[in-house]
Symmetry: C2
């Protein structure tokens, strides 16, 4: 605990210097880090090989794959840093401002949060990705990775800290928690006064642990139980494209479509074609769906509440847009909800009625992602409503400072 | 618990209808509520008299005064609602938006949070103030007042609910927690999924209880240990005005100035005049301060860390702006920090280096307040960095929704 607190203090102190660093210096860090990753790739791969030798056998194939670095993956980490360096500086933007009747000039200016904690599992590429986004936005990156990747993460962080010093930033602007026990993770989540924000990059177990232990401000990545509603006025060819893309293009991700809702007047015409097009997808439907699609099996309430993350789709026939909206209100996780329609009326009604981070009209739910929507880089997707909602880019790693300039005004 | 959950569900359901209500209907609620308060003032005063009869004897004079309503105070609650009604609608604003290369139109639009919980102590005027701000911003107001004011609060809420129904809003858009026990407060703070945001209006004990019990998203009002630094280039006459105003105009509030820092080159010239001007103020200073001001007593570390909320000022002589900034970094609560200087260099350096919700140049810390800074109304002052920082107005009671409109785009 003493060690963690010492480290936290050093990171907090470093955040003061980092907040004063120019964009040129912060970008020099990112570009220098990219070159260093390329130049010292062998060193990182060696550390990774040791991690794999020590922990690989105990991991699932998928987890082992996530832990494994290759020359190409290190190269892609370097490219990622260069891409972030090329983005505009989020700091210093005047968010708004005005003059008061008494002559006070008021403005709100974008400033860094200070120390951003990132807690993540396996993937060592998060180490450089997160550090890059944090430093670009003027924040210290305080990282806590998994025990299985600790050797690799330490090698990357040691490289990044050397680059920081080279460009004139404090060494502690990137730091890695040494103790990878669960107890240390809980203590990390409780570093009130040292972590200005803590963001998880991981599965439901990590999120649950944060809900239990975190006393510092957090931005939680939520689940994505996303719906597509095919309205009575939908272009059915378009609707087929949207559900195929939403469900099958990458079924394991949070913005995949999990439930298809169809207006009863189009159910007959749409569902058979859908079943044909989504051949490899298991279909779980309401009684009316099952009457139309022979291979569909009955859907339970739990199916409608489930983010399958797999080639399984739940289907329901509804008699009105209100029934669709009520279903979404009951089962949605507030991530991304889509409507396919050619009716301006129904499109607007859906957009205004549905409470989610993103609402899409005639577009695949798969677009709800920072890079796809134009944020340039993504630190995660928030399903909370405070601070950041939906895909989070550099701007979401900042806060605002009120700057008030007067000529000696006092309050009467 | 069953009752609380039933009520929470009703409020959550009401929030869906409220989110669809036009600004005209929401304003009609505010104006109708103002008239109703005036028309039925006697009823509210009677309930208040009962609360006072039942609990008044057990309260301090200050607390009893906060609990007491008069015809003038009810009138001022009505005026407050009319002022909020006259503010621009915060909803529907397009925060930003752009077109993607694939033709997707992306925009972020301001929408209500949903259900805003307010937990507060004594003052029954918060009941109508908070309800007005919440409804204006399209949110249900879910209120939990103190047991001593419960009768008064219930009378006000019953009036507000009648007005809601009259203007076509769901009755449950304003609700009051019936059980005023501490256990019920803890359960209220744990209504995950029903409260989109919980804001306290109260003292340190309430904030501490929220830190312990709240599992819903919160925006906490923090302490205000505010500093004024009199720089070597300061206009000393102006500095005198600023410290007098900051310390004495209303010493009990969070934006009062608690510590005076003076550059050593001006200490002699400034401090005697200051001691003269702030006659009624107890001064606690560093050794150099005590050498200049005879009546000053030695300041402890704890004094520098204390928000006195009284006519006590701690004073420290520093040898550089960096020493002042370091002192602020060590003791500040991140509320409001001021510099008095005529140097552009030092002003900018201070503004950029100090990490606080508000930084002031040549203006009294007392200005850091929603109404003074032009927000029109204030729901509180946040010393956290996520979501809202500094004075919070209607906009801070909103979130954004991503709206993505396509022509059938799918992701490749």
């Amino acid at each position: 605990m003493a060690d963690l607190l010492e480290q936290a203090k050093a990171v907090k102190t470093a955040s003061r210097a980092l907040a004063m660093a120019s964009a040129a210096v912060r970008d020099a860090f990112l570009l220098g880090a990219a070159s260093a990753l390329e130049a010292h790739g062998a060193q990182i791969l060696a550390a990774n090989a040791e991690d794999l030798a020590q922990h690989g056998a105990s991991l699932t194939d998928a987890a082992r794959d996530r832990l494994t670095l290759t020359q190409a993956r290190v190269q892609s980490m370097a490219s990622g840093l260069r891409q972030v360096a090329a983005l505009p500086d989020p700091l210093g933007e005047v968010v708004d401002g005005w003059r008061r009747p008494n002559g006070l000039d008021v403005r709100r200016v974008r400033v860094p949060l200070g120390v951003v904690g990132i807690i993540y599992e396996n993937r060592p590429n998060v180490t450089s990705d997160a550090a890059g986004l944090c430093i670009k936005s003027g924040n210290c990156a305080y990282l806590r990775g998994s025990s299985t990747a600790q050797g690799t993460n330490a090698a990357i962080v040691s490289l990044l800290r050397r680059v920081a010093v080279e460009v004139g930033l404090p060494e502690a602007c990137v730091a890695l928690v040494e103790d990878t026990s669960h107890e240390a993770a809980a203590r990390f989540m409780g570093l009130s006064g040292y972590l200005d924000c803590l963001i998880p990059r991981g599965g439901p177990a990590l999120i649950a642990s944060m809900r239990e232990h975190a006393t510092v401000p957090t931005i939680l990545d939520g689940d994505g139980n996303c719906h597509l509603y095919v309205c009575e006025n939908a272009n059915l060819a378009m609707a087929l494209d949207l559900i195929e893309n939403g469900k099958t293009q990458r079924p394991g991700v949070c913005n995949a479509t999990e439930t298809l809702l169809v207006h009863s007047s189009r159910a007959e015409a749409f569902l058979s074609g859908m079943a044909e097009r989504l051949k490899g997808v298991e279909l779980r439907g309401c009684p009316r769906t099952c009457a139309i699609i022979e291979r569909a099996i009955p859907a339970s309430d739990e199916d409608y509440a489930t983010e399958f993350g797999a080639l399984i789709l739940s289907v329901k026939v509804v008699d009105s847009i209100d029934e669709a909206i009520d279903h979404i209100a009951a089962y949605s996780t507030g991530h991304s909800e889509a409507i396919c329609t050619d009716s301006v009326h129904f499109a607007n009604y859906f957009v205004r009625s549905v409470d989610a981070a993103a609402v899409l009209v005639n577009a695949s739910t798969r677009f709800v992602d920072g890079e796809q929507l134009g944020l340039g880089a993504e630190i995660g997707i928030s399903t909370q409503k405070l601070h950041a909602r939906g895909p989070m880019g550099l701007r979401e790693l900042t806060t605002a400072k009120w700057i008030i300039t007067g000529q000696g005004q006092v309050r009467t």
